[in-house]
């Protein structure tokens, strides 16, 4: 058993939707700005919640649903949270998508109603779903909020058109639809006008926000209580250390959980100091972030060729930022470059290498561009000496310095080519062997050897096979029960969607 497991493995929850609803409040914490977002998720009107991978969109949605009935029976609004991590949805179009989608929504509503005495008839088309939800609202005497999570998938934008058509159609004065999207989702279909049919709400998680350090310290304490009780070497304090780790992973909640896990591994018998923090950052860069680009690749479908330019952009930005004196942690990239290479930048944001902090800022060298914060784990690798000194720590925790500018001409980014897409290609991950899902750093709650053997003996050999297998079929396998099925579903979800 690793030290991680000794510490808090039960709390190593990488995605909010995998957390037991009753335990959710125990492990999740929210800032004042998050509270504002949660209010918007409960309020009237359609909302698209936009944020990078792992920034906490799902947690915000679940937190919103827990302020509504049936979780809070006295609430005047009835909320239904639905994760759309459902393989058939990813592979279907048109009427077929509509039927699967309506079926999923119906099932989830029925599940939510089980203790209320109300019923909901299954719908297989949008008209009957719309009618059913409107009737339910009347019967309950409550407004209904539908929270759709994971509707968008980085590798498959085509199916979003159907989703947004449905989203628009069922939104009304008594039915408020909310959905998560990530930056870069642009294909909303012909009938959905993103600025007319929904409010876009951004999830902002920025180290310059007041309370940033305290929020991450609270999360660390809630998720990793043993780690929080470790000795912390002066002049560090828990909130500064936790805030620094949060900042290093660009405020990404999933990255933070991985980082705490790594930190716990390294501090089993040592106090938390700058040396350990530096080692943790470098460990994350080597074992988590760079492999992540490989992990993402098979989920990208036709966008697989975009991984290479993404890597080139990352290397150029990190090298340039790391070589400056003092080291810079922000890159200001001319808009022509960002516009020319949208998918590689999206992949880098998705993988947590960069995080956009400003859409339009003037470059000193002329023109305008987007300012990105750079992942400090990766940046530390490019700092001379690759060591987190107290000076570097203070600088990174201090006021923001001027960003490194990448102009449309003369910068290393200018020459990066935009490759052709692989049209008609499928998600490679589905054809990968289930060995891929074995417990590892990438999949810390992955499948055990025994589970893999059991699945193989039942003819389930690929990630796709497992994703398509029905719960009742899995339940028939030896030593596979409800908890194991949930674990399998979660790891498939992580492999395909995260």
């Amino acid at each position: 058993m690793s030290s991680t497991e000794n510490i808090d493995s039960a709390n190593l929850i990488l995605a909010a939707e995998e957390c037991d609803p009753q335990e959710f409040a125990k492990f999740h914490r929210f800032s004042a700005n998050d509270a504002r977002v949660i209010n918007k998720l409960i309020a009237h009107g359609p909302v698209l919640l936009q944020g990078g991978r792992g920034c906490g969109k799902s947690a915000l949605m679940i937190a919103a649903s827990q302020q509504l009935a049936p979780f809070l029976p006295s609430a005047s609004v009835f909320g239904v949270y639905l994760s759309l991590r459902h393989m058939p949805l990813l592979r279907s179009f048109g009427k077929e998508y509509e039927a699967i989608f309506c079926g999923l929504v119906s099932q989830q509503i029925q599940l939510s109603l089980r203790d209320t005495g109300q019923t909901f008839e299954s719908a297989d088309n949008i008209a009957s779903l719309q009618y059913g939800i409107a009737s339910l609202s009347r019967n309950l005497g409550k407004r209904i909020v539908l929270l759709f999570d994971d509707a968008a998938h980085i590798g498959r934008e085509a199916s979003l058109e159907e989703f947004f058509d449905i989203f628009r159609t069922i939104s009304s004065s008594t039915v408020s639809c909310k959905a998560t999207i990530y930056p870069g989702v642009t294909n909303f279909g012909k009938r959905f006008d993103v600025y007319n049919d929904a409010s876009v709400v951004d999830v902002v998680r920025d180290e310059e926000q007041p309370g940033f350090d305290a929020l991450f310290a609270e999360i660390l304490t809630a998720r990793f209580p043993n780690l929080a009780n470790r000795e912390i070497a002066a002049p560090l304090k828990l909130d500064r250390a936790a805030g620094f780790v949060g900042q290093s992973v660009l405020g990404n909640m999933r990255g933070f959980v991985f980082a705490c896990n790594e930190l716990a591994d390294r501090t089993a018998d040592r106090s938390i100091g700058l040396t350990i923090l530096g080692e943790t950052l470098l460990g994350l860069a080597m074992n988590y972030y760079w492999p992540l680009l490989e992990e993402v690749s098979p989920k990208l479908g036709k966008y697989v060729p975009m991984v290479e330019p993404a890597r080139q952009i990352a290397e150029a930005v990190l090298q340039e930022c790391g070589s400056k004196t003092p080291v810079r942690r922000h890159a200001l990239i001319h808009r022509e470059i960002v516009t020319r290479l949208p998918k590689p930048f999206e992949i880098l944001e998705y993988a947590g290498f960069l995080s956009k902090r400003e859409s339009s800022r003037a470059l000193k060298s002329g023109g305008r561009g987007s300012r990105f914060a750079v992942n400090l784990c990766l940046l530390l690798e490019h700092v001379p000496g690759t060591r987190l000194t107290s000076e570097l720590f203070d600088r990174w925790k201090g006021e923001r310095e001027e960003p490194v500018e990448f102009h449309v001409r003369g910068s290393q980014l200018a020459g990066i080519a935009n490759p052709e897409l692989l049209e008609k290609s499928d998600l490679e991950i589905l054809n990968d062997s289930i060995e891929k899902l074995k417990k590892s750093r990438a999949y810390p709650y992955g499948l055990t050897d025994h589970m893999i053997e059991t699945l193989k003996s039942a003819g389930i050999n690929t990630v796709g096979d497992l994703s398509r297998a029905r719960d009742e079929d899995l339940d028939r396998l030896d030593y596979v029960g409800e908890a194991t099925i949930r674990r399998m579903r979660n790891v498939v979800g992580q492999a395909v969607w995260m």
Partner: protein, 402 residues
């Protein structure tokens, strides 16, 4: 009694104090004065007058706004002199002092001790005057009232800018500022006080819609004075009828939102009369808002503006107005359903407690649009960006807490 006390404490022989009483509920004022003096603490009278100053500004709409400014000045300078000689001198700037002299003539007893401290013209004069009240906190209630007054003035000032005295447009904007401050005060009381669902459903949507209408009318007036000057002129005519619909009045669809999207803005065969002049319409979006938004993100220092500014920085200048249009349309439409009593089912079930969130969103939206407007050199009476940003941050701080 009130008159004597007023004289004793430097406000002249009842004149100015009588004026206060005429603007407020006289019995209530007198009761409060008696209560204050029953405690035997002269300094509490000082605090009481500060509260009056705040209330007058936010509560009254039925008299000339210049008088209103004058009253604030009388109170903030006048009450201090006799009781607190060791207090720092309050700053009174030139503009309201002139207004005071013009409007009150010999009636006003202006204390001159602050003249030396005057730093010259400051477009934030009103707030500066109120800022002096910030230090006056002797009970929780007083502190809240002072905060309320500051917030409502901040929003009014951010939206209406710093109009120069003497113009007709200034009169209009002053009126809108006072109206806006009153709306904000009511909104604030909805947020802070316990309120039943029925009243919330009845009043909340009205305030939300009013906030949008008044704010956007003021911004439109600063961008296109013709539009509000025409309305004023028509309303002043003897044949103006309250009983008939006025076709020249500001229309949400037409003046604020355009009636339809314009596909090719610069088609050479389009005449000016066919170009929409809606505040959030395509022409102003192209000619004004994009540049204003770009100026804003360039002018605001990195660490300023709080979460609202952080959110604005994530928006592309081309997307700013489309987003604001969508949000304003959504809030306006939500609120209008109750204003027009469209419901044949209980409105309270539709306007659940989340109407408060609509009001918060309305304040954020109006503040963001107004801050952006002030960052432009193409709009009248723009506040200096530092002043506008201070207002924006204060509105936000107050807003987030509740």
């Amino acid at each position: 009694m009130a008159g004597n006390l007023a004289a004793e404490y430097g406000l002249g022989e009842g004149g100015s104090f009588e004026h206060i009483c005429s603007l407020m509920d006289r019995d209530k004022v007198e009761r409060e004065v008696e209560d204050v003096f029953a405690k035997g603490e002269p300094q509490e009278f000082h605090f009481f007058l500060a509260r009056c100053a705040c209330r007058i500004f936010v509560a009254t709409t039925n008299y000339d706004t210049l008088i209103e400014r004058a009253m604030v000045e009388i109170l903030t300078c006048g009450f201090a002199e006799p009781v607190c000689d060791d207090e720092p001198t309050r700053i009174i700037h030139a503009e309201p002092r002139q207004c005071l002299a013009e409007q009150l003539g010999s009636e006003g007893k202006i204390k001159d001790k602050s003249a030396a401290a005057s730093g010259g013209q400051d477009p934030r004069t009103l707030t500066t005057a109120h800022s002096s009240c910030d230090t006056i906190e002797f009970t929780q209630r007083t502190a809240k009232e002072v905060a309320l007054a500051t917030q409502t003035i901040d929003l009014a000032q951010l939206v209406c800018g710093a109009p120069e005295p003497g113009s007709t447009l200034t009169e209009i904007l002053d009126h809108l500022a006072v109206t806006l401050a009153s709306i904000c005060k009511e909104m604030k009381s909805l947020q802070n006080e316990p309120i039943d669902a029925q009243r919330l459903a009845l009043v909340g949507p009205f305030l939300g819609r009013s906030l949008l209408e008044v704010s956007f009318t003021a911004l439109l007036g600063r961008l296109d004075p013709f539009r509000v000057l025409v309305i004023r002129e028509m309303q002043m005519r003897p044949d103006f009828s309250h009983e008939k619909r006025n076709l020249a009045s500001i229309q949400w669809t037409g003046d604020i939102h355009s009636e339809k999207k314009v596909e090719d803005l610069w088609r050479q065969d389009r005449s000016v009369k066919d170009m929409t002049r809606a505040l959030l319409g395509d022409y102003y979006e192209h000619l004004f808002w994009r540049r204003a938004f770009q100026s804003l993100v360039d002018l605001v220092p990195d660490a300023r503006g709080g979460d609202w500014m952080r959110t604005l920085r994530l928006i592309n200048p081309d997307s700013f107005i489309p987003r604001m249009k969508q949000q304003s349309a959504s809030i306006y439409s939500t609120c209008s359903k109750a204003v027009h009593h469209e419901f044949v089912v209980p409105a309270a079930s539709y306007y659940d407690s989340q109407i408060k969130e609509q009001l918060r969103s309305a304040i954020e939206l109006v503040s963001s649009v107004a801050l952006t407007a002030n960052a432009s050199k193409d709009i009248l009476f723009a506040l200096p960006i530092e002043s506008a940003l201070t207002c924006f941050e204060r509105i936000q701080d107050e807003h987030v807490i509740n």
